[in-house]
Symmetry: C2
Subunit: 138 residues, 2 copies
DNA sequence: CTAGACCTTCACCCCGACGTCAACGCCAGC
DNA sequence: GCTGGCGTTGACGTCGGGGTGAAGGTCTAG
């Protein structure tokens, strides 16, 4: 299998594959004409890379999984190094979610407070209180 | 107050202030010598910008708040446009948290499964099962 | 007088994961 | 033998957001 076919079958581009190879992530054998030659196993490696990428892993973080498969293990996450990456990623996600949630709560509070202030002003405002149900914006 | 003092008092840099001005976000009056002249009100605007930036707002998203203050309102979020930005940000954060949480759950499942597979192999493996309680990593 | 703060403009940086040429080689079909 | 479609390499561009750096000049405070 040549680079174009592999790219097509994995739903990526030849440019990406050459990039992976340049990073030492997905080495390719070469035919006599200099063309890269891939097999089904390479397709597995590539799929592993892409699944993890879709989960938000950086390219470097997929390396242990790829190496694990290359070493003949049944799955990319059969090796301790891969499990470590999983754990690190989980911690990273947890931290991110915690940070975002905290900001979210603060903002929700600010919004509620600002809306309350607006409504209070509207109610105590000039003689012609705006009708809340007919706001033109929104 | 000149640019250096304002920067110091707001905990930012003169470069950033000139950048804000170039974006039309924090215009400055000029003295006869061409120097930018700021007052306490500008410090308020700047603090508003920085607070929102710390919450993860983009510069453009802080604009309604700044304009609201410039218009003489008591707070940056006293205007409908600011409230809209709040709501949009909340929705954005919620979407982000949902996406990350989903990935987190999938990964946690993968990790658990991979660990179970490893332990099963260790138990059914060669005659000398590794002691789970003395894992050197961790 | 001189150091430091200020002015302007233009360019550059950071990050990752590629995309986009350019200029060439290889090979199948007609 | 020629065209078209693959393949090769390397160098450079892109995206986005929020700035930073340098050069070269002016102004001010002590």
């Amino acid at each position: 299998m040549r680079i174009g076919e592999l790219a097509r079958r994995a739903g990526t581009t030849t440019r990406a594959l050459r990039y992976y190879e340049s990073r030492g992530l997905l080495p390719a054998r070469r035919g006599g004409n200099g063309y890269r030659a891939y097999d089904e196993e390479d397709l597995r490696l590539l799929r592993q890379i892409r699944v993890l990428q879709d989960f938000g892993f950086e390219l470097e973080e997929t390396r242990p999984f790829v190496e694990c498969l290359q070493a003949g293990h049944p799955a990319g996450d059969s090796c301790p190094a891969s499990l470590e990456v999983y754990r690190a990623k989980l911690a990273e996600l947890d931290a991110m979610v915690a940070r975002l949630s905290e900001v979210r709560e603060v903002l929700a509070g600010q919004l509620a407070q600002a809306e309350a202030a607006r409504d209070a002003l509207a109610g105590a405002g000039p003689g012609e209180p705006r009708c809340e149900l007919v706001r033109t914006g929104e």
